[in-house]
């Protein structure tokens, strides 16, 4: 999964790997991130209500992620 901003600074990388089932939902990916990357907790939204960018559009909850999708953590944005 792609990560940016303060999250990528914390991880010292612009992407992290996360182990999930073959066809996870956004909720499941966020829960897996919380479990597998506790150092990124400060940038992770809660799995139930949080969102991820899936193929450059926001998605939440039950939205399914498929093989080949581009998944990005879009949080702690600081525009302006």
């Amino acid at each position: 999964m792609l990560i940016f901003g303060a999250a990528s600074f914390g991880a010292k990388s612009d992407r992290v790997h996360v182990k999930v089932s073959d066809t996870p939902t956004v909720r499941e990916v966020l829960a897996a991130m919380h479990a597998q990357h506790p150092a990124l907790k400060f940038a992770l939204p809660p799995p139930e209500t949080g969102r991820l960018a899936v193929n450059h559009a926001f998605a939440r909850g039950d939205n399914a992620i498929r093989q080949g999708d581009e998944v990005a953590l879009v949080t702690l944005v600081v525009g302006g």
Binding site: G5, A53, A57, V74, V77, V78
Partner: protein, 147 residues
């Protein structure tokens, strides 16, 4: 007119004029219809003093900010935000420009200009846009310290 663009480098008057020239027809249709009572223009400028999270949030001197955008999502979300704010506040036009890459101290990284029937809508729209920009548009800034 709804115009939202991410542009490389600082936003200069020349760059903005060139960008708007490409939308001359839309600009023409706006002027002189007598329905605009207020325009509001916001510019965000890079300040010298910035807090350093790695130094207990002490203030340090910046050289520049590097704006990182997640493309093409940043462009899409900026457009979607502009259209949504225009509809919500009944704007007659909205132009939003944001920098990508390096913007030095004193340079402009963000321009928002709105035209509305009355002043209240123009003020509410600008405040609303900036709040939502910081939530929804994938742009991050990195500090380039002076020393």
């Amino acid at each position: 007119m709804v115009l939202a663009l991410i542009i490389d480098g600082p936003l200069t008057p020349e760059l903005e004029a060139r960008t708007l020239l490409g939308h001359a027809d839309q600009l023409r249709s706006l002027s002189g219809d007598g329905t605009i009572g207020a325009t509001l223009r916001f510019e965000g400028i890079v300040r010298r003093a910035e807090r350093d999270p790695e130094a207990a949030d002490a203030e340090r001197d910046l050289l520049a900010l590097d704006y990182q955008t997640y493309d093409p999502m940043a462009q899409r979300e900026l457009e979607a935000l502009a259209a949504s704010v225009a509809a919500r506040h009944g704007l007659k036009s909205i132009v939003a420009l944001h920098s990508r890459g390096r913007v030095r101290v004193g340079e402009v990284s963000f321009v928002l200009q709105v035209a509305a029937p009355h002043r209240a809508e123009s003020l509410a729209a600008v405040a609303d846009f900036i709040d939502r920009l910081k939530q929804d548009v994938p742009i991050w800034k990195w500090s380039v310290w002076a020393v």
